[in-house]
Symmetry: C2
Subunit: 320 residues, 2 copies
């Protein structure tokens, strides 16, 4: 199996999980970046159990550009505007990148200029850059696209994802508004603190793969309200529309104790396809794995800002 | 959308369906091959509604090598030994090939020498050759592999496929033994006339993608016996084994009127994944579509004998 030399950029819970799994699968951590004063300056192994003892964490991203890495595993923020200043120097230094930045999974629709800039830079430096994760990056976009392989006359694609966040980490519960009042929830949505980022990117990625031109992508973010009017989570809907026709419908609930957690994909086509993932593909573990499993695919991909649908099948691993 | 110039090689029910769909999607049929005396010499349009009126059917495959095609859509037989003499001259002439030959989907395990020969020839001529279909080629191999993307610690993969052949074409019903006696069924299996071809290839493809070394692949073919001891179809099981450990289990029933037709994929891993395709991905229509949808992917793939898992996502089409 291929062993890559990697930089871990971002040591939040997701970044730590990614770096730990990558290390245990035989990839070598050569540098780690985090601006948190509680982390910078300390050994990476203090946070990443599988990290080599000699790698320290630095707050200075420029310092890792010459660390001899093949690839950067990047996990900092959700918005393209936030991460672009972090990613451009990496690509410029000839480093491949896999990022969990949600908007990077398919930035071409909402941020075509920024996407084209990053793409041109990555091409010129001969490296692949891709945004990947479970959602966006798999369950509401790549997987539905793959399920269209045996289809013709595709009229509509809908994906329903219902996640029980009760057993997930606390930051995720806060991110979907658990235990807020409805007013606090709405303020949080307006401020960008509450809600899932990525549904419009998933809709745009599906449309891109199928050759559909979307005139607009609509999204709604509503609270799931429980007893005593407390918020239990978020219900987001996103529609991809051409003319007056809805082509893509994404329906995401992330809340404590929803009924029948699952992922459901329905393709209205010839033949019709209806797929249920019982319990859903859940957990941060899945995000760690898809990022690490993609390393060989991204390193051997043609250079540029890649769409997950442009990669060959990302296979999982048998042992850690 | 890319428009390819294609040869249709084999005008059985599947070949006709493929060529018709390809034509209606804007690809151009430039030659057609079939050895059936009832077809050779006649216009292709007599059998393929969407075919151009000026293309005839020839029994002489050598005559189509210089027809100016980009790709050959090949649908003749199930066994590699049968199709290899047909495929080698095509690759040698610099033609890409998508074939529904079941054993071609992953010939590396059972026929490594033949696979390596075809691979070397295709590489030297700069063309991609791939075996594709719904099964093998998608539901019991490519799709399970793709579903491992978010997984680590994969211990076992099982796929159950239950197909109701009552509504399918008669040749398929005969192929799975419908209305034979048990003795006729067993004679048919022994003679290679009865049973589904491809389960061992699917098991080998899954193992290859996951980096599993299989020591052996076992297969059983049993009749599904109904009232009055008549055969209603076939039940085939295939196991991929390493040492004493079963890693892959494929369970296929193709019969008239089975309970709850479906495809089911279970991945014993972290996280575990359990997927049901309600009703299953069924129908020759799905085979036509996956072959035609793969044309752009195969034409832009690196040259050689390709595994379906090495292609980027094959997206379906919206209109025909």
């Amino acid at each position: 199996m291929l062993s890559a030399r990697f930089v871990q950029y971002g040591l939040g819970p997701i970044g730590i999980g990614i770096a730990d799994l990558a290390s245990r699968l035989g990839h070598r951590l050569v540098a780690a970046v985090d601006i948190d004063p509680a982390k910078a300056g300390r050994p990476a192994a203090a946070f990443i159990p599988g990290a080599p003892p000699d790698v320290g964490i630095t707050a200075d991203a420029a310092a890792v550009l010459n660390a001899g890495a093949d690839i950067v595993l990047h996990s900092t923020q959700s918005r393209l505007a936030q991460v672009l200043p972090q990613l451009l120097p990496l690509a410029d230094a000839g480093l491949a990148v896999i990022s969990t930045c949600e908007e990077l999974a398919f930035p071409w629709y909402h941020h075509p200029v920024e996407a084209a800039s990053l793409d041109a830079l990555a091409r010129s430096r001969g490296v692949g850059v891709v945004g990947l994760g479970v959602n966006p990056g798999f369950v509401m976009d790549l997987l539905p696209v793959i399920l269209t392989a045996p289809c013709r006359e595709i009229r509509h694609i809908s994906v329903t994802r219902i996640v029980d966040v009760a057993l997930r980490r606390l930051p995720l519960q806060h991110k979907v508004g658990v235990e807020l009042t409805v007013e606090e929830f709405r303020l949080g949505v307006a401020a960008g603190r509450v809600g899932h980022v990525g549904l419009p990117q998933s809709a745009a990625m599906v449309a891109h793969a199928l050759g559909w031109k979307l005139d607009r992508i609509e999204e709604s973010v509503e609270p799931v309200v429980g007893p005593a009017h407390m918020v239990q989570g978020v219900h987001q809907m996103c529609r991809g529309i051409h003319g007056d026709v809805g082509l893509i419908s994404l329906d995401l609930t992330m809340a404590t104790g929803p009924e029948h957690p699952r992922d459901e994909i329905a393709i209205d086509a010839l033949p019709p396809i209806r797929v249920t993932v019982e319990g859903g593909i859940h957990g941060d573990q899945a995000t760690y794995a898809i990022v690490v499993n993609a390393i060989p695919r991204v390193l051997s991909a043609p250079p540029g800002l890649l769409v997950p649908t442009q990669l060959p099948a990302i296979a999982g691993v048998a042992r850690t």
